[in-house]
Structures are given as C-alpha cells and as structure tokens.
C-alpha cells in the first residue's frame, strides 16, 4: 500500500485539467494529451487485496442510508464490489 504523496501533483493536475477542458468543450483530444492524462491519473496505481486475500471489513451507508456490510450485501456466491470515481460528475 502506498501512503506517500507524490511531489508532482501540480503537473498531474495540469494534465488532468487540459484533458478535462478539451472534453468539456467537445474538442478532439490529441493522443499526447490523452496519454499524459492517463499517466497523471494512473501513475503508481495500486489494486488492493489479491485473489486469496481477505478484503478489509467495511460498514457504509447505501443510497437509502442503510448501513451495509459484506454480510448483508453478499449473495450465496458472494459479491462484486465495484469501486468507481463519482456518481456526481
């Protein structure tokens, strides 16, 4: 697990903003801008527990405010847990 903050955050933010600006304006995104954006967002990526390892316990509210855990989410064969960016943007 990585917990260090990279020093190049400003450069990465600039790459993300440039990509976002072109996309929002409906303009074509040059391959170079796309590649820099991918680097900026994925640099040093981590993917968490591997097959065979246990996931950490969690207890989080769902869209109805009900607290959900693995126990009350999983079906008889388990759970597909999808981590995503945001439902807001």
């Amino acid at each position: 697990m990585r917990n260090n903050i990279p020093h190049d955050l400003a450069e990465k933010a600039a790459a993300m903003r440039e990509f976002g600006r072109l996309r929002a304006a409906g303009l074509p995104v040059p391959a170079e801008v796309r590649a820099r954006h991918l680097w900026a967002t994925n640099d040093g990526y981590a993917t968490g527990p591997d097959p065979g390892e246990r996931i950490p316990d969690f207890a989080l509210p769902d869209q109805f405010g009900i607290i959900r855990t693995l126990n009350n989410l999983a079906g008889s064969n388990g759970l597909l847990l999808v981590f995503h960016r945001s439902a807001d943007w």
Binding site: R2, A24, L38, Y45, I55, F58, N77, F83, D88
Partner: protein, 266 residues
C-alpha cells in the same frame, strides 16, 4: 446475469448518500450504492488515488478496481483496467467465472466439415470503452484435431481475432492443449480434439456512437486427421453489439453547452 449465479453487486464511491440516491433514482439503479464519504474504505483497501491534488474534485477517488469476493470476504478475482473509462462488463465477469450466456446473446456458427465453432458475446449490451467478454465453443469430429499455440511454422495455431478500428485490445485463451506424438513425422504437437471452449475479452474504443456496432473478426485453424492434414483456413465472421448511450452527468452537460455557446471557462 451475476444475480442468477448468486453474486450480488454493490458500488462504492466517495459521494454522499443523497447524491447516490438521486443518481440511483435517475438511472433506475437497484443495487446498493455505498457512500464512502471520507474515502476511509477506499484507503483501507489500499486503492486511494494519490495522484489527485487536494483542490481537485477528484481528490479522494479510488483506482477503479472491481473485486469478486466470496461470501467469507476472500477475493476470488479482481478486475482493473488502467483507464477509468474502460470498465469490465458484468456479463464478462459472469462469463469468465460462471460460463453464463444470456438467451439473446449474439452468436455465429462456423462449420468446416471436421470442425464446428460457435463464437459469441454472452450479452448483446455494451458501452463504448468497455472490456467485453466473448467465447468460442469448438466441436471437432472424431478422428480429427486442430492445433494449440507454439506449433512449428508450417502449422496454424487455432485463434479467434477481432478486426477493425473499434477494438483497442484483445486476448483469447484456450484450455491447455493435449500433446500428440506423431511418430511418422517425428513431431509432438499441441492439439485439441472433441469439444472444448475458449474464452476471450476485448476492449472497445471510446467514444463510439450508440446503437448497433458490427465487429468483424476471423477464426484461424488447421484441421488434420491421423492420415490427412488440410491447409490452414481463415473463416471471417461478424458479430453485433448494441452500444448503450453513455451516462453524462448534469455538470458535464451544462459545461459542454456553455462552451458550445462560446463562453470558455477561465
């Protein structure tokens, strides 16, 4: 398709329960959307994205990982595509883990005499940019075989390949081949006989227009019996997917229409 196999689905993001409620209602989402407001669970999983500066709205997001977890909390499989716009489809997970195929799945059948092959997608629905699973079911007539990979140059290994500009990347895997010793030729070659299935996946280009997408592809193989070896053959095929419209957030829509009206953001 996952539900049918006893696997439930839940999604996690850093949004508040109120935002998730509005999103679920708008898009008629029935599975639980979990709110990890302070990204604590995202950090506990070790997938916090440290590339985001604290003043960005994306500060706090995870790396886009999907975990297939057993009822006891053990990871069975995880899926990660290092571009958040590419996601693995639920049907691809169902295909790889459970061999499930929906009744309206697009499938083509190819026949060569000694060989019958069905190639298809487990579901007709997909999004541009997604990783989509596909399968190829082979039935080889008794007394015949086709070849696995790592054959000498004068033989053709069995492969299924999608062509054209709409597929960004792809892979296709067959089970382990049987080693067949051919004393007359002084060779031992990897072969397949009987019936077996290969499974693959492809990543669709993004963006692509919504609606019907026809993907051309080709099957390559060489069929041989103990007495005859036919030349390598290539069979072209086409399979269609229905691309669903992309979900665009209100904020992106508002920004797009603003900039189209000529008002650039600072």
């Amino acid at each position: 398709m996952l539900e049918k196999n006893g696997v439930h689905i839940a999604a996690i993001s850093y949004d508040s329960p109120e935002i998730l409620a509005a999103f679920a209602q708008k898009h008629a989402i029935e599975f639980p959307l979990l709110s990890d407001k302070a990204s604590e669970t995202i950090r506990a999983f070790g997938i916090f994205n440290f590339n985001m500066a604290p003043d960005l709205r994306s500060y706090g997001v995870p790396h886009p990982v999907e975990f297939l977890v057993g009822p006891d909390g053990t990871v069975v499989k995880k899926y990660f595509v290092p571009n958040y716009q590419h996601r693995v489809t639920g049907s691809a997970v169902a295909l790889h883990e459970f061999g499930t195929i929906s009744s309206d799945a697009p499938v083509v059948a190819l026949e060569s005499g000694a060989l019958t092959v069905q190639i298809g997608f487990p579901s007709p629905k997909a999004f541009a940019g997604q990783e989509v699973g596909f399968f190829a079911r082979f039935i080889v007539k008794d007394g015949w075989h086709i070849y696995g990979s790592s054959v000498p140059a004068n033989y053709a290994a069995t492969s299924v390949t999608f062509d054209g500009p709409d597929v960004v990347s792809q892979r296709f895997e067959l089970p382990t081949a049987e080693m067949l010793n051919l004393p007359a030729l002084g060779e031992t070659l990897p072969v397949y006989s009987g019936s077996f299935q290969g499974i693959g996946s492809l990543v669709l280009k993004h963006p692509l227009p919504e609606g019907k997408l026809v993907l051309p592809g080709h099957l390559r193989f060489q069929q041989c019996s103990n007495t005859v070896c036919e030349p390598p053959q290539t069979f072209p095929f086409e399979l269609a997917l229905n691309l669903e419209p992309f979900v665009v957030s209100e904020r992106d829509l508002a920004r797009t229409s603003k900039s189209q009206a000529g008002r650039q953001r600072p």
